[in-house]
Symmetry: C2
Subunit: 480 residues, 2 copies
């Protein structure tokens, strides 16, 4: 008898699961309820659409709804919102077009994603104030910049272009404010600068890109300033003000004019549906899952930005709302549902971002306090080294912070910033983290060398070598 | 009482050991005998000096003789050749300036390097025929091209510029032949093409870059042809001919004009000194060493291009005459001699080369026969995938071959070719090889994703995913 696999949410986790089940067990009935109109889209690409590197928002869609339905035989229902789960009865309650119905399932996947956090102050509802976590706002921001947001199409006809259409006849901005110096904030600063706008970036912490560590952040901050971005660090925004449309950002230090504002202060997992159904949340506030992505409710899985994953360094639950984690977990759950139990994989918290001409990336645990909380006694080094052989033209200086546990020498994490080959160098460190290597082992990795690509000792090896020396010295001091 | 550490050979392995001992145990007397005039030079940089990317040969020197002597307190003797080792008496016989003397040692390091293989046919002694394994010939090649080989200096005054000085007044070549399609051959083809010469590349095997596998080789060959290089594959060179200076290359297929020839058919370890002293060679023909770089003779170490290293995939002795292996082993031996026993590390056979606008890299075991010889039952896949998110501008198609052992799923190796971020992607695979990961584990690595740097599933992950599927399918077939 064919099973019914119901999926809530049609983005990375949900659609990966749907596709995998239909490939491995085509007899399974797969129903996806998506409350919006977009599926399987690359949220990470939105800054590049606003910047203009990507012409059309539709380019960000990996697989269209039609392809899911016609080629992959997925029963995809757009505009359908799941409002309740009854895990005992194995049904979900669905609302669409003002109607409501019950849908039975054998297996359920909750892939409800996350939402952009809107800060609790005045003016966030003004015209010209955006978050950038859904496709509609990306379209509206680009239209607001005076750049055609849907080349060759009529926004008014698009259904989901309504928000953008409001901006078609408004004046384009001169000054924009970006609130939050995380990935999205830094990427949006680059996007706006490409339109020759005056860009102000507000961050309440002492540094941008907090998860990348202080050394990387300082290099990025210098570069942002060189690129003309006005950085307001350790500056808490208190309100947005304006008449209908935003005109200024108010902070404790005063007012900054801004005719367009993007708020990128983080995301929070969409857990209401799960919580209302009595499904357990974890310590991070996202849905608790086991190594197969199973929740506390029988035959109910969760994956993607709404769910936790296990951190490979700490062994503890973590919440890393990034694309690869979602895609991988969705695919693994699809495989499990199709009859081949498959772990969803662990996260190393690996992340990377482009900041104008710089690349910055991180993996594992690099923050001292975070390391101590996880029971480690961290030792860290920060080095700079050239990306290529000293005599080979071009290249860039890289700054690497690498962290190990002092007593065991186990590698805990690293961040790198520089002009080239940064994320791939972090990938090597990520592989070492998954393997639980010591810094001595990292120092002895046989990495690829040729003069155009690295010094004989790649900067990753040099960092490990210096860190190994420091770990050894610390151990000798402890023994003496 | 202070020890005497004698080192034979002043390049990567020897000078790394010398520096490390003097840093960690400064009381040690360190004597380095180098028969030539160059120390601590980057042989890998020579093609770029010939090309013109590197202005001066001296730029390739990492640390000068003066720095070793004055800053690092190393007793460096240039023009001193060690002609015999008496391991029982713990002495070496040294020749210099027509004199000979005995030098006692407590510990000895043999770092005699390798030499370019000169094929056994007529005409290799003609003017205009070069190997590219020492600095003198690199300088002579550049002078022969009609490009000033020593800007600001007089070749005649340099001592070691004599070979180059012969070419100062000779006519520059129009057509060059490169014999051998390995790294050096491919790099030299690029170097000569940069001088607008007609370049013929001869390779007796069916493909260039044999250790990188067929899929990578084919991509490189197409690119070399696009760049105007005349490829002569499966073509055995039989002689060089000319009157005093080379004028043509003779093959079984006929004659090709060439007024300059570079032979790059590989290197062989310099083992005569060790062999004459009764020190054991290994199965590869290089000096056998243990995990600390010790030879069969007491207190005699060997490292670098003359010595074997353990392959991390097969666990067997291997001969990988590359810079990192030499530097690392030298440094580890220096540390051991200074009183802190340190393994020299294992090799994964990782290598990379730039070929015009392409990057190609490899690690581990990718050849079917080599895998079977090592006791594996290899399963392999070749995939192509984009280097960046599908919607992000630029980027390049990557071709990846990945190999695993069928019965265990253990990763054995990979090669990658493409336009960007190739060697660093191979580094991730190399780290996985050192860790002994299965393909399932590689598939689950948490690698860095952002649209400018990779698709959500990096091509390395995609290759592992496809390979894992093939391994699984093969296992199911075997069980059925």
């Amino acid at each position: 008898m064919s099973q019914t696999f119901v999926i809530v949410g049609g983005d990375a986790a949900g659609m990966s699961a749907a596709s995998k089940v239909k490939r491995d067990a085509p007899e399974t009935e797969v129903i996806v309820f998506e409350k919006g109109q977009w599926v399987s889209y690359a949220a990470c690409g939105m800054p590049y659409y606003v910047k203009g590197d990507v012409e059309s928002l539709e380019d960000l869609v990996a697989v269209t709804p039609e392809e899911f339905v016609e080629e992959r035989d997925v029963d995809l229902r757009l505009g359908h919102e799941v409002v309740a789960v009854d895990a005992d009865a194995r049904t979900v309650t669905v609302e669409a077009d003002g109607e409501s119905f019950e849908q039975p399932y054998d297996t359920l996947l909750i892939g409800t994603g996350a939402h952009a956090i809107v800060p609790p102050f005045e003016g966030t509802d003004l015209d010209g104030v955006f978050t950038i976590h859904d496709m509609d706002s990306a379209r509206a921001i680009r239209e607001a910049l005076g750049v055609d947001a849907a080349p060759g199409a009529d926004l008014g006809d698009m259904g989901y272009g309504a928000e953008a259409a409001e901006y078609t006849d408004m004046a384009a901005p001169d000054t924009v404010a970006v609130v939050g110096g995380g990935y999205v904030g830094v990427e949006m600063a680059e996007a706006f600068a490409a339109h020759d706008l005056e860009v102000h970036l507000f961050e309440m912490l002492p540094h941008v890109l907090q998860p990348f560590g202080e050394a990387a952040a300082e290099v990025v901050e210098d570069h942002l300033r060189e690129q003309g971005v006005h950085l307001h660090l350790e500056t808490r925004v208190e309100a947005f003000e304006g008449e209908g449309r935003v005109q200024r950002v108010v902070t404790e230090d005063g007012e900054t004019p801004a005719d367009l504002v993007v708020v990128g202060v983080g995301v929070a997992p969409n857990v209401d549906l799960a919580e209302d159904a009595g499904i357990e949340l974890g310590p991070t506030g996202a849905i608790a899952t086991d190594e197969y992505g199973r929740t506390s409710a029988e035959d109910v899985f969760a994956a993607g930005d709404c769910a936790e994953a296990t951190n490979t360094v700490t062994g503890e639950p973590d919440h890393v709302p990034l694309a690869l984690t979602a895609n991988r977990a969705g695919r693994a759950i699809g495989q499990t549902v199709a009859g081949d139990p498959t772990p969803v994989g662990e996260t190393a918290g690996t992340a990377t971002v482009k900041a104008f001409d710089l690349e910055v990336a991180r993996t594992g645990v690099i923050d001292d306090e975070e390391a101590r909380d996880a029971g480690f006694d961290p030792v860290s080094v920060t080095i700079t080294a050239p990306s290529r052989a000293h005599y080979y033209p071009g290249g860039s200086e890289l700054t690497i912070t690498m962290v190990a546990d002092g007593p065991t020498g186990t590698l805990l994490g690293a961040s790198i910033v520089g002009g080239e080959d940064v994320p791939k160098r972090v990938d090597t460190v990520a592989a070492a983290l998954h393997a639980g290597m010591t810094v001595d082992e990292v120092e002895n990795l046989d990495l690829a060398y040729a003069p155009p690509f690295s010094p004989v000792w790649d900067p990753v090896l040099t960092a490990a070598k210096v860190l190994a020396g420091k770990v050894e010295a610390a151990r000798e001091t402890a023994e003496a």
